[in-house]
């Protein structure tokens, strides 16, 4: 459809880095493919799709997000099985991609299992299929090209490492360039065919340059000093494993080839490092505020001193916050959390209401809520996503042989299961299906867990800008929840009561607004807060039994008022904590007590709840909050 009417590669304004990275992988399939990250509307997909006309061998195979596993890896050939009773292999997308480019748009939304399978095949150059009673292997040498918007979710460092090259796509900041973009898009929209003709010569020249570079890469020899240089780059960038060196050399060969040379120069390596190192550099420092910085083409004219000095690294990929250490920006706020060094200063009697800002530079925190005891029912599901076989919702990803009754029939898999035996079965229809053929659908629902935040908003929390850090931590957790499509609710307790600020909702925006406006002041009715949380959890369970809820309690534990205004705040709180523990809900306690003399109530509460326990300080140092359920 519309073939030959894609927006021409050469007609894309700007994005020199993205273009160069794509030319490198076109030139040298051994460079390990490329991952392009960038905000929406920066011509990522346009450029990738335009690569088809530059590649000599058959262009691009695209993997849509809706692809089921059988279609990716291949499956039993239905028609053949029915007509001849033979178990033949029907190739999937990986077979089609052999010798070509495989493009996955929004790769960060693809299921992890599928992505890993694809990357494995890319590594080996072979696709091994063991499914539906067939065993098959075929060559599958392809170059992976992925695009993603980091705001939509992250890839793990291990996955990132599989990509040879990484590049950020930015927006144009020059008015004339932006105007030119509009001019060209308008012309293209008006008449795509005429537009393509206009750019035909440029496209031809570019394709020729790639073809020549390919030939040169074949002849390029790598000598020992170059290998040493590559090793130096990688060790100084603190890369794990040895993939980086190989990718670095292959990318450098492509860069040399594109420059018309069949030998390497140190500058080739320098340039290659701009693409090969950023996503695998494990460094101590990484400025990583949540918003992506304004960035267009930072590496346009690489400065030799840029690489690979670790302080001058290209910015780490925005999509790998799990990898990064706390941001240097946090240093300014450090004093707020390093209160342990300070003399005790808490002010529980503070009755003034104050509203703290959200500390938006709080280092990103990811919630790791893959609860181990659930693994068996969650098999086949993506990150923090629930597979619920009793609800016919979500994306159909694979099928399995059910042990009991079939509630959600996977017709395609059922047909394929029945197909080979048709000649012996007979019957009126072309396919005669027995009960043993029935296959159940495995569905993945991207909606995640329910997080109930129970936040201490008493006066003691307001002291020393502590609330700013607390809000920063919650904000960071909310961002992670947003990316993973979780539901959130929020309860705050202060003065004499607890208030459900936000009933559980998908709108994390609202949660953020509540957080923003949350004032601090008054006493600490911790018990009321826990009581309210317990009520919420019960309601949630009544609504939906399958829902996984996680309670996150943020408090300094300085409970000084009991239930219904009673005197024994701590005892009431501990009793309720025990109740919550008995209810079996997964809990996390974030202890904000930073005073010199610690009472440690929050820790006791955590123990009674069977909760994972973190201090705010730990949270700012650790980027992953593991919500493992401790034994009560």
């Amino acid at each position: 459809m519309g073939k030959g009417t894609a927006f021409p590669f050469a007609a894309v304004v700007g994005q020199p880095d993205v273009k160069e990275a794509l030319l490198i992988v076109l030139t040298n399939p051994h460079a390990g493919g490329v991952l392009i990250a960038g905000e929406s509307g920066t011509a990522k997909s346009v450029l990738v799709r335009a690569m088809a006309e530059l590649s000599a061998d058959g262009g691009i195979v695209e993997l849509p997000l809706n692809a089921t596993e059988d279609m990716v890896f291949g499956h039993i050939d239905l028609e053949q099985a029915v007509t001849s009773g033979k178990k033949a292999f029907s190739p999937g997308i990986l077979a089609r991609a052999d010798g070509r480019l495989l493009y996955v748009d929004e790769i960060n939304l693809l299921r992890r299992e599928v992505l890993n399978g694809i990357l494995d095949a890319a590594d080996r150059g072979v696709n091994l299929v063991e499914r539906e009673g067939i065993s098959f292997r075929h060559e599958s040498r392809f170059t992976m090209v992925g695009t993603m918007n980091p705001a939509e979710g992250v890839l793990t460092p291990a996955t990132l490492d599989r990509f040879g090259l990484f590049v950020m796509a930015g927006r144009e900041t020059d008015a004339e360039a932006r105007a030119e973009i509009m001019r060209r898009v308008l012309a293209y929209d008006r008449d795509p065919l005429a537009f393509a003709v206009l750019w035909r010569e440029d496209t031809r020249q570019l394709a020729e340059r790639v073809a020549q570079a390919r030939a040169l890469v074949e002849k390029t020899a790598v000598d020992a000093p170059m290998m040493q240089l590559a090793a130096q780059y990688c060790s100084r960038a603190n890369c794990a494993g040895h993939r980086a060196e190989l990718y670095l050399l292959e990318a450098a060969k492509a860069i040399a080839g594109l420059a018309g040379r069949d030998y390497l120069l140190p500058t080739d390596m320098e340039r290659a490092a701009c693409f090969v190192l950023p996503h695998r550099t494990r460094q101590m420092q990484s400025p990583l505020p949540p918003p992506p910085p304004e960035q267009s083409d930072p590496d346009d004219s690489p400065n030799p001193s840029d690489q690979p000095d670790s302080t001058e690294q290209p910015p780490p990929p925005q999509n790998a916050p799990t990898e990064s250490e706390p941001s240097s920006d946090d240093a300014d706020d450090g004093e707020n959390r390093d209160d342990s060094q300070q003399p005790p200063q808490s002010d529980p009697s503070d009755d003034q209401d104050r509203t703290a800002e959200i500390d938006r530079n709080f280092s990103p925190v990811n919630l790791d809520a893959s609860l181990p005891q659930d693994r068996f029912i969650r098999r086949g599901s993506g990150k923090r996503s629930l597979t619920r076989t009793d609800l016919k919702q979500g994306r159909y990803v694979r099928s399995f042989l059910p042990s009991g009754d079939v509630t959600d029939l996977a017709f395609d898999a059922t047909l394929r299961a029945a197909a080979p035996y048709q000649s012996s079965r007979g019957g009126d229809c072309a396919i005669n299906i027995l009960k043993s053929d029935l296959r159940q659908k495995v569905r993945e629902k991207r909606i995640g867990n329910t997080f109930l935040f129970v936040v201490d908003a008493s006066g003691s929390m307001g002291a020393r800008e502590r609330m700013r850090a607390v809000k920063g931590a919650i904000y960071s957790l909310l961002q992670d929840a947003y990316q993973k499509r979780d539901q959130v609710g929020m309860i705050a307790f202060r003065r004499n009561s607890a208030e459900v600020l936000l009933p559980v909702t998908r709108s994390i925006d609202l949660a953020q607004k509540c957080l923003q406006q949350l004032p601090t002041g008054g006493k600490t009715p911790l018990a009321e807060g826990l009581d309210s949380a317990l009520g919420q959890i019960r309601t949630l369970r009544q609504k939906d039994k399958a829902v996984q809820s996680v309670l996150l309690l943020v408090t300094d534990g300085r409970a000084n008022i009991g239930l219904d205004g009673g005197a024994d705040g701590v005892a009431d709180a501990l009793r309720l904590a025990e109740k919550i523990g008995e209810s079996g809900v997964t809990c996390v306690v974030i202890d904000t007590e930073t005073d010199f003399i610690k009472l440690g109530v929050a820790r006791d509460i955590a123990a009674r709840m069977g909760a994972a326990y973190y201090t705010l300080k730990e949270l700012s140092d650790n980027t992953i909050l593991r919500i493992a359920k401790n034994a009560v």
């Binding site: 997000l65 809706n66 008015a175 973009i181 304004e294 159909y396 991207r446």
Partner: protein, 340 residues
């Protein structure tokens, strides 16, 4: 008694919504419209009414995707194959439809899937088209798009952006044209949609109920008249309807001729830079909307007044780029940029 569609021109108020819909049917490449607002504000009435307003179009007879015989670049596999073999494609006249996507729709129904009946009867794989196939060259209406499953929204917007639906599921591998005007509605109180998805919508409007008592009375009066005697009601608006229909056709014809000056382009570029919008969709949509507005007004040149008007439709939903960000459009910045 037979009741027909409520006439578009009989809708009281809601001028921005009406304009956004008109612009999209003149120029489907604008990328659809997102209508935000409470219930009972004539959203779905307006969408059905705009389709009814449009004259019939030509479509290939028997084609499941209603391919346009005069648009060789966007034919389905089947039609393209027939053309290649020198076959003339017989066509017929069809009307633009509103295809609805219910919130409960599953992904297989949206993108299409394996034809089970065919497979069981004949032991062959065949693609059964889904809602995206029906939507080709029509209006796809998604009520409460913010409540739709995320993965369905993903495939939906992907198809909308590409104009093609690629299916790789349940044993079938298929690709077909899916060019449609996407109209989504949402009530922001019930949860938002991701900013990245917002950006994929060309235009957005916010609708509220009429506050003026006289206007409210007029709404009720017209509704009652419509329900009492549709034919008579439709008669009252016939000439207005025809006029608007003609204006849309004229604008469609004029659209390719509308020009933009370099000064206007750089004005838009500066505005986008000043507002710090993500990527380039904002500028592109802004200029396209301005051009379409000019075409609707019968002018061959888009001007800064068109940009100002287009900004109201194309920019507000792009201001909130990240989750949790307040997304107010800074009108003084817009005005300042347009003054130069």
């Amino acid at each position: 008694m037979r009741t027909g569609v409520y006439p578009f021109t009989a809708i009281v108020g809601q001028e921005e919504m009406k304009q956004a819909l008109i612009l999209n049917v003149i120029n489907p490449s604008l990328g659809g419209v997102l209508i935000k607002g409470e219930k009972g504000t004539a959203k779905s009435t307006a969408v059905r009414a705009i389709a009814d307003l449009l004259p019939a179009m030509r479509a290939v007879q028997g084609c499941r995707f209603r391919c346009d015989p005069e648009d060789p670049a966007h034919l389905c596999e089947d039609c393209a194959g027939r053309t290649k073999q020198g076959e003339a494609l017989p066509d017929l006249s069809v009307r633009m439809k509103v295809v609805e996507l219910p919130v409960s729709a599953t992904e297989d129904r949206v993108v299409g899937t394996l034809d089970i009946e065919h497979a069981i009867k004949f032991g062959e794989k065949k693609f059964e088209p889904g809602i995206l196939a029906q939507a080709n060259r029509n209006i796809l209406y998604v009520d409460e798009i913010n409540l739709l499953d995320d993965h369905v929204v993903d495939v939906l917007l992907d198809a909308a952006a590409m104009g093609v639906n690629t299916v790789e599921r349940e044993g079938v591998s298929y690709s077909h044209p899916a060019r449609f005007v996407l109209v989504g509605t949402m009530n922001p109180e019930e949860g938002d949609i991701r900013p990245q998805l917002l950006d994929r919508f060309g235009l957005s409007v916010t609708v509220t109920g009429e506050h003026e008592p006289a206007q409210r009375v007029e709404v009720i009066k017209r509704r009652m008249a419509y329900e009492q005697d549709w034919a008579a009601f439709a008669d009252t608006y016939r000439s207005g309807q025809e006029e608007l229909g003609q204006a849309i056709l004229r604008a469609r014809r004029l659209l390719p001729q509308v020009g933009v000056s370099d000064a206007l382009l750089s004005m838009v570029a500066k505005l986008a830079i000043q507002l710090g919008v993500d990527g380039h969709r904002a500028d592109i949509t802004l200029i396209k909307t301005a051009i379409t507005l000019a075409a609707l007004a019968g002018r061959e040149q888009a001007g800064s007044a068109d940009i100002r008007q287009a900004a109201r439709l194309a920019l507000p939903h792009r201001m909130r780029r990240r989750p949790f960000e307040e997304g107010a459009l800074d009108w003084t910045a817009v005005e300042a940029a347009l003054q130069d």
